[in-house]
């Protein structure tokens, strides 16, 4: 996994769509934007800056607003904005005495989507930056970053 040329935004969406199984490039674009914003809320400004350099301008801009990182953002807060726009009727709630019939494993979807985006983002930065970003990501999200781009993204 080495750094190559900066991809076009449309290429990023197409790759994420393929791996995550989205129905359209628009859907993939929304996921890419939200993952970038969550990432910006987790990692410090200098890492956002390095990542931005390897991204097309229309995606790099997503890193700007929230940049700086909030160390208290956890894995649930990271995926929240993604789950918020998922087309689901109900999340699972084991307190109801088992899984809801209409339940969707929103966390499985969220994890697959985030990994698909991470796989592309990792190519935009060098190895030391990749490691540094991983250290700032919360809980299991750090593991998704580490594994992304490997088998099955």
């Amino acid at each position: 996994m080495e750094r190559g040329r900066v991809l076009e935004a449309t290429e990023v969406y197409a790759r994420v769509r393929e791996v995550a199984g989205h129905g359209s490039d628009e859907e993939a674009a929304g996921v890419v934007r939200r993952v970038l914003r969550s990432l910006a809320r987790s990692v410090p400004g200098h890492l956002c800056g390095r990542l931005a350099q390897g991204l097309p301008a229309e995606l790099a801009v997503e890193l700007e607003d929230a940049c700086g990182g909030d160390p208290l953002v956890e894995a649930q807060g990271f995926i929240g904005p993604l789950v918020n726009v998922m087309d689901v009727e109900a999340g699972y709630d084991q307190s109801l005495g088992g899984l809801d019939l209409s339940a969707v494993y929103a966390d499985d979807d969220a994890s697959r989507w985030v990994r698909a985006v991470f796989a592309v983002l990792k190519e935009a930065v060098d190895a030391p930056t990749r490691d540094e970003i991983e250290r700032h990501l919360p809980g299991e999200v750090a593991g998704w970053w580490r594994e992304a781009g490997g088998e099955g993204a």
Binding site: L72, E74, I79, P81, N84
Partner: protein
């Protein structure tokens, strides 16, 4: 060194009276960390729910203030968010829907040494519990009220709530909610609350700072938290809140003690929503006005000697 929490400060002078400064400082013993509040129960909240950040913020707030699990009572109602006491290792009491403030009032009078947090949803706090809300603001009981305001009845799977936007389509408002929503910060101000704040679950670090000030406040403190319900509220999302929330303290001339400024801020909701401390003043607490507490000390401190024999015997029988 932990930062100091506010005092319980209700019943000084009486036999068995509460130690002023109850809660906090942890008796000068071990350092409190957020991990001390970890519970063995895993939250059943949906992935991505804003309630997770509120739970984390409460643990961090208490740890930063040096309040140990045995020094805090967390009282909730019924709702998704109200399951929180199960997920935190501390004293907890899940009451019935809408009633946590009433129970907390009784608890606080009986045991003013404890730090008391009330945690409930917008339906619980502003709907079925709306009457208790108004009177707790007015009475100025020394407790912190954290409302998980997701603008929906979430536990019951998505009916519109008192804070839902007008026109919001839900199962109980198929043509859109016809009513104007309650604006809790404005209602709290009108009812005489002495500390009114708003936080956003998507900015947990800021939320902790707000909660710490609320717990320190000597009197009733409202922290209305914009809490995305990722499953049933697809209108007021993380992004919706994030685009609108601005830090009131960063505004030029910000003075939370100025009631004229505060009235403007507590009424602001729409394209721009202020977060942070919107109003703060100091007035005597309810506990300070309860003369029986001054005379006899809080019930949690009573011993056999403080009560007539038959009353003591009846209590022992009732509680053993």
């Amino acid at each position: 060194m932990p930062e100091t929490a506010r005092g319980g400060g209700a019943a000084g002078g009486a036999p068995g009276a509460a130690r002023p400064g109850g809660g906090g400082a942890n008796g000068g013993t071990a350092r409190v960390t957020p991990k001390d509040f970890d519970s063995e129960h895993r939250p059943t909240w949906c992935p991505g729910c804003g309630d997770y950040a509120i739970l984390t913020a409460i643990k961090k707030t208490l740890a930063d203030l040096g309040i140990a699990p045995h020094q805090v009572m967390i009282i909730s109602g019924i709702g998704c968010g109200s399951k929180l006491p199960d997920y935190i290792h501390a004293n907890g009491f899940m009451t019935i829907h809408g009633r946590p403030l009433a129970v907390a009032t009784g608890f606080r009078l009986a045991n003013p040494e404890m730090t008391v947090l009330v945690v409930d949803g917008d339906g619980d706090a502003y709907g079925i519990g709306g009457n208790h809300f108004i009177h707790t603001c007015r009475r100025n009981i020394n407790l912190t009220h954290i409302v998980q305001n997701n603008q929906i009845y979430a536990l019951t799977k998505g009916q519109y709530s008192p804070t839902s936007e007008q026109g919001f389509v839900t199962t109980t408002s198929p043509d859109g909610a016809p009513e104007r929503p309650v604006l809790p910060t404005a209602l709290a101000f009108a009812a005489g609350a002495t500390f009114i704040a708003r936080a956003f679950a998507g900015r947990p670090q800021h939320m902790v700072e707000v909660m710490k000030e609320a717990v320190r406040h000597p009197g009733y403190a409202l922290v209305d938290v914009m809490q995305p319900c990722v499953t049933f509220n697809k209108l007021n999302t993380y992004e919706w809140y994030d685009q609108r929330a601005y830090d009131a303290a960063a505004e030029p001339g910000y003075d939370p003690a100025d009631p004229v400024q505060a009235w403007e801020r507590v009424n602001q909701w729409g394209d721009r929503i202020p977060i942070g401390i919107l109003y703060r003043t100091v007035r005597p607490t309810y506990e300070e006005g309860v003369r029986a507490l001054q005379r006899h000390g809080p019930p949690a401190r009573w011993t056999e000697r403080d009560l007539p024999g038959e009353v003591w015997d009846a209590m022992v029988e009732a509680f053993t």
